[in-house]
Amino acid sequence: MLNIDQHSRNIYFAIPPLKMNPISVEHISKKFAGVNALDDISFRVDKGELFGFIGPDGAGKTTLFRILTTLIIPDTGKALINGLDVVKDYKKIRQDIGYMPGRFSLYSDLSVEENLNFYATVFGTSIAENYELIKDIYIQIEPFKKRKAGKLSGGMKQKLALSCALIHKPSVLILDEPTTGVDAVSRLEFWEMLKRLKHIGITIIVSTPYMDEASLCDRVALIQDGKIMTMRSPAEIIKTYPWKLFSVKSDDIFRLLNDLRQISQAYTVFAFGQSAHVSFKEDQENEESLFEYLKTKGHSGLKISQATATIEDCFMELMMKS
């Protein structure tokens, strides 16, 4: 069966082509005031994938997500959502995506219920119609449904915003830093909810500055200064960490860091909680020689072990490289 679309005069098959990705980005660049917010970004997300964009403020996450949600036009490159172009077919795309912007964008002076009702109506549906989909999330804030949205706690606001983004059963969910500023418990709960949604087949793309959340995604892209430094599953990223890494603990972390930095062969020395992570390019380095060296420097309570890199180690390594 052929459908002839009047606007673009393309011919679509009624059954979507097998290999069509829900999100497909090719060579997107965007400048703001002479600065490269995004520099030649390309990637694809598969159906039902939970894809994470990890990077600090200013890395370009929000800019990228605004392009995907058709709110900004890229300078160069192409982005497709379910095969539709973000620039030309923005009206159709807006019917089918769910979006949670970086800051709370719901109406503070409307109640939980009123907000949800509003977005349901705008998308031509009702709370009842898709209640099953948002039930797990909404049930946690339902006792507060008459409360004004502005008076909710951070965690509850996130749950409400997610419910509003899902109310029209989108096939693609775009979440911009949904866990920033939210307490640790709510953060965990939020990611549990995302995992459940993924299992229903909703494609989810999330951005976050928290490196530890990377491990909760199927694949992640580490982004810094508008460029993607690497893009693969968290396990693979960790596997590709190139150097030998040690975790060192002593009673005086400040002195420890300084003393480790004195070691000429040490490539990087970074604090990681109560230990220091020190990396060596050479393979010969081992715990014993480190121990000896630090003992002579007068450190007590030493604990040294070889460590597996964390996502954060990998991120910093990639940052140093560029």
Binding site: R66, P101, L106
Partner: protein
Amino acid sequence: MKRFWGFVVKEFYHIFRDYRTLLILFGMPAVQMLLFGYVITNEIKDAQIAILDLSKDEVTRRISEKVLSSGYFILEKNLTSFDEVDQVFREGNVKLALIFEPEFAKNLDKAGKAKVQIIGDASDPNTANILVNYLQGILSNYLISLNAEKIPMQITPEVRMLYNAEMKGVYMFVPGLMAMLLMLISALMTSLSITREKELGTMELLLVSPLKPLQIIIGKVSPYVFLAFVDACIIIILGNTVFGVPIVGSVVLLLFESLLYICMALSLGILISTITSSQQIAMMVSLVALMLPTILLSGFIFPVENMPWILQWLCHIMPPKYFITIIKSIMLKGNGFEYIAFETAVLVGFTLLFILLSVKKFKVRLA
């Protein structure tokens, strides 16, 4: 003391680096000085006058010449009969009418007295008063020039003030107030409405929804149409009951025109909000750029005809000016639609223009 000074220096930096503050500090006073200076004047010149000369003799011609060469008056029309007087005032192109009784010169010569009738448009009582005084002054000057001969002579003017016999200032203020208040309420409210969404960030989600720009705009305007209309009714009722401003013409027509004006002001508010991104700016633009011209340049208080031609031209693109004409026409003169068809068309035109521009300027994207 030094830390205080350090603070003051910092404040100067902020001021000089923000062009908006500079605009307010220096631009605004300059503009206001010029505006106020040129607009506020109690002298009137070139007021349109109609003359009905039922005598057509040498004396009346001489008096008419003096009147027309005084600089205060310009001849708009020479009337031929009494019936034309009412019409010419309804049309609103004449501020004053001078009527000479038949056989004027003969009466002056033989009986030493002659009568004239002076009819003023008192829907603007101040102007009417001033013009009547000018005219009476010209008449008595003429008499004085004649009385070089010793015979006492009199020209008795019978003065009639149309539409506002008691010369109540409130007849002039209420229509002007209506124009100003409705403009302010409507434009201010809608201009804040969209910018508030932009500021709070809720616009971001609205844009990503299937709502079309026209739906968003009309959706935002609708509640205010109703509310502002209620306001208009309140103002009219108060004006009528408390201040005694009459509604000589059709109430229905008055309400319809008020509704039209409200729609125009609401659309203007929407247009303002599509071009500003902060509520503060929207409020300032609404208050300063709308209220000031409405008061000064709409003929509300100061007659348009007295202003330098450049400001007069500006007045012609002020929607409130047309609305004030319409209200006075209906309330005070009791005119029907034919007399205000032009002004109505202008308001409709402005409304459509603002809506069109708003839809065009409404950003479907963030940047």
